[in-house]
Amino acid sequence: MSSSAAQPFWRAAGMTYVTYSNLCASLVRQCLKEPYRSEALSREKVHFNVSKWVDGKPEKPTIRTDTPE
């Protein structure tokens, strides 16, 4: 095989299907009329914290959140 199969442009640029699909959905949500738009954007909110583990101990977590504290 000389070349790999033809790839969609987003995969050729290093993006995964999940990222592509979520990006498309987010763009569609931003084009909705009110009140659907506010309902839809509330669906996009995330809240999580990530901590890396080094030598068996967790480091300080980074909190990623869209909900106001």
């Binding site: 442009f9 987003w10 640029a13 592509y20 498309c24 959905a25 569609v28 084009c31 009329k33």
Partner: protein, 203 residues
């Protein structure tokens, strides 16, 4: 206790295959839930113990393909947060596959299609319902069941034309000023989605 389990499994499998033989004589069979090769080789090595169940025994067998093409297509349109259509009997759906608009009628060959942002139209008699899908997949099964999955699906009247035009202009500008591959890709995706939205609103 194990003996009763395997007996009821065999009874269930043979009963369903007998039912199949009576109703659909020429259609594709439902795949049975047992692993016959494994069971036979187990019995040869160890005839006194009941064979253990393999993972395929726990799987639901593929539903049988009817011999006659059904008159209606069963459609399921599911999103991560809602099932918009759930086993709805329709005449035809047109899905926006990456290879073009694909019409699915009852009796369609089993297909998996990746979808691009576009319109899904559901035809039932004289009614046509249109949904704009953000992207997803369509699975058509041999028994005339179509599963369409997407992340966002909205009726076209919930889209705001001004926001669509503004978005299209924004992303066209972003594509002109983009420098890295990632920026160019994001701008291109923005243009694709907004052009599809535009076509949905005007078409």
């Amino acid at each position: 206790m194990l003996r009763h389990g395997s007996r009821s499994l065999f009874n269930r499998a043979s009963a369903s295959s007998m039912r199949w033989r009576r109703q659909f004589s020429t259609g594709l069979p439902a795949e049975t839930a047992e692993d016959t090769k494994f069971v036979e080789s187990w019995k040869k090595m160890n005839p006194n113990m009941d064979p253990p169940k393999t993972p395929s025994a726990y799987m639901k067998p593929r539903p049988p393909t009817p011999a006659n093409i059904p008159s209606k297509l069963t459609v399921n349109l599911v999103l991560p947060y809602d099932s918009v259509l759930s086993s709805k009997e329709v005449d035809m759906v047109i899905v926006p596959a990456t290879t073009g608009q694909m019409g699915v009628l009852p009796g369609h060959v089993a297909t998996i299609a990746e979808l691009k942002p576009g319109i899904l139209s559901v035809h039932e008699g004289n009614d046509v319902t249109k949904y704009f899908l953000s992207s997803g997949f369509a699975f058509v099964h041999a028994n005339s069941v179509a599963d369409i999955i997407a992340i966002e699906a909205t009726p076209v009247d919930r889209l705001d034309p001004n926001l669509v035009q503004k978005g299209l202009a924004d992303f066209q500008q972003k594509l002109n000023t983009a420098s890295t591959d990632v920026e160019k890709t994001e701008a291109q995706i923005g243009i694709d989605v907004h052009s599809a939205l535009n076509a949905a609103l005007t078409g």
